[in-house]
Symmetry: C2
Subunit: 232 residues, 2 copies
DNA sequence: CCGCATCCGTTTCGATACTG
DNA sequence: CAGTATCGAAACGGATGCGG
C-alpha cells in the first residue's frame, strides 16, 4: 500500500507529499527547539494521539527528516531529533509563522501563551527588511520571561545570510545588548500588526525602550506594518 | 460543527488551521499565477475531485484568502482569485518549493514537466544570497520554453526587498537581458543540486551562457549548492 | 459545457485501552 | 516511558447527476 501522493513534478507537491499530513509540521516545529522524547512531544501537542504520533515519527524517519537516537545509559532514553535536511524546514516554518501572525490576537484560558513558542514568535515578528547590515542584539523583557534576539551581520557583500540564518532568539538576556524592550508579547503583536501605535504604547507605559536611543526608530520600524513604517 | 483546529496560540498552528488541509496549498499555488475558473483548477489538479474543490474554495473564501468574482457578460464566467491576504502566501509557497527541490529528479511520463509551474520552479532555484544588490534580468532558453527572470534592485539601504519581492519570472524573453542561459530545466535542477558541475555541463554542451561574461561566475554561484559555490 | 451537489466505499484521524 | 491495537467518526477519493 503506497502512500498517497499528489503525483506531480513540482517542488511544492513533493514537499507536501512529505509534510502535508496533519500534525507533521507541528512535530517539526517542536523538534526545531532541540531533540525531544516521545512523551515530550505528546505533551506538547495536545490533541495529537499516541498512535498518530508514532506513525508520523516513522514517516519522518523514512523521509530522513528525523532520526531516533538512543542515549547511552544511565540516561537510557530515546530521543527524536531533526536531521540536517530536517533543519532546512526552519525557513518553511518561519514563512508559515509570518503568515499566521495577523490571525493571532490575544492568548486565552483555553489557548494560553506557551513560553517555549515565544522564540519562534519573536523571530517571525521581525520585519527583516528594516534591519541594518550590521550585528545587533535586542533584549526582550516580557511579562512572560526574558529573551534575546541576536541578529547576525548580513554577511560579506556577494554572499548574504538568509533571514533564518540571521535571526536567533535565545532565552535569557545577553550582557552586551544594543537595545532592550520591556513589554508583553500581546503588545508586541499589536504593534507589529498596527493595531497599536508605538507612540501611544510608549505614552501609556505599555512599552519601555532602553539602550542607544538612536536605534529606537529602527525598532519602531522593525516591529510595525510595512505601510506604517514607511509613513513614519 | 466547528472546523477542527489545533487550538494553540501559535502562528504556525493558526496558519495550518487555515491551510493545512489536503489540496489547499496547491489551490493557492495555482491561483498565484492569476485568477482561474473552477474548471481550470479542476484540470490542473488531477486527482482532486469536484466535491473537494468546491469545499476548499468555500473554506478559502471564508478565510478571506480567495474571492469569487463574476465577470460581466458576455464573458459570463466565475473566476477565483487570491485576495491581498492570499497573495501573502507567496512567501510560504516559495519556502516550501525551495525545500522540495532536492526531492525532484527528472520528469517522467506519469509526472511530466508542466510549463505553467516552471516560473515558480525557476524562482525557487535561485540562491538569493548570491545576488548582487542591483537589478538584473536573466533569460532562460529552455527546451520547454522561454522565460525571463527579473531581479529587482535590493532596495535603498535601510529597507530591503524580500526574496518574494525581488524575484519575478515571466514568460518570454525580455529585450534588455543582462544574461541568458540555454539549457533544460532538469539540467538546471542538477546544477543547483550539485549533481552536475557547471564546468562539466558547459563542456558537454548541456548549458550555453550568453551575455556579459563577467556575470557568468555569478550565475554559477546562484545556481549551485552553497558549499560548491563557496569552494569555487 | 461549466459550476457545482450528492452519494458511497476507502483511508485517515480521534479517542481509549493495552503491552513491553 | 515508549510505544501498539482497536474501533467508531470524520475526511477523502471516485463517480455520477443536475441546473444554468
Amino acid at each position: 500500500m503506497a502512500k498517497r501522493s499528489y503525483d506531480q513534478f513540482c517542488p511544492v507537491s513533493r514537499s507536501l507529499d512529505l509534510l502535508g499530513e496533519r500534525w507533521t509540521l507541528l512535530i517539526v516545529r517542536e523538534l526545531l527547539t532541540g531533540p525531544q522524547r516521545y512523551s515530550d512531544l505528546k505533551r506538547r501537542l495536545p490533541g495529537m494521539w499516541s498512535n498518530l504520533l508514532g506513525q508520523r515519527l516513522r514517516e519522518l524517519e523514512d523521509a530522513d527528516l528525523v532520526v531516533r537516537r538512543h542515549l547511552p545509559p544511565p540516561a537510557a532514553r530515546t530521543v527524536y531529533e531533526l536531521t540536517e535536511r530536517g533543519r532546512e524546514l526552519e525557513g518553511v516554518l518561519l514563512a508559515i509563522a509570518r503568515f499566521g501572525l495577523p490571525y493571532l490576537d490575544a492568548p486565552t484560558e483555553e489557548q494560553p501563551l506557551q513560553p517555549r513558542l515565544i522564540p519562534g514568535g519573536i523571530a517571525a515578528l521581525v520585519r527583516t527588511e528594516e534591519l541594518p547590515p550590521g550585528a545587533l542584539t535586542i533584549g526582550f523583557v516580557l511579562d512572560e520571561g526574558h529573551w534575546t534576539l541576536r541578529i547576525a551581520p548580513a554577511g560579506p557583500a556577494g554572499s548574504k545570510l538568509s533571514d533564518v540564518e540571521r535571526l536567533d532568539v535565545v532565552e535569557g538576556l545577553d550582557d552586551d545588548l544594543d537595545l532592550n524592550v520591556r513589554t508583553s508579547l500581546p503588545v508586541l503583536l499589536w504593534l507589529r500588526r498596527g493595531k497599536l501605535a508605538w507612540r501611544e504604547a510608549e505614552d501609556q507605559g505599555l512599552v519601555e525602550l532602553g539602550g542607544d536611543p538612536s536605534h529606537h526608530g529602527l525598532l519602531h520600524r522593525t516591529f510595525s506594518p510595512a505601510d506604517v513604517a514607511a509613513a513614519a
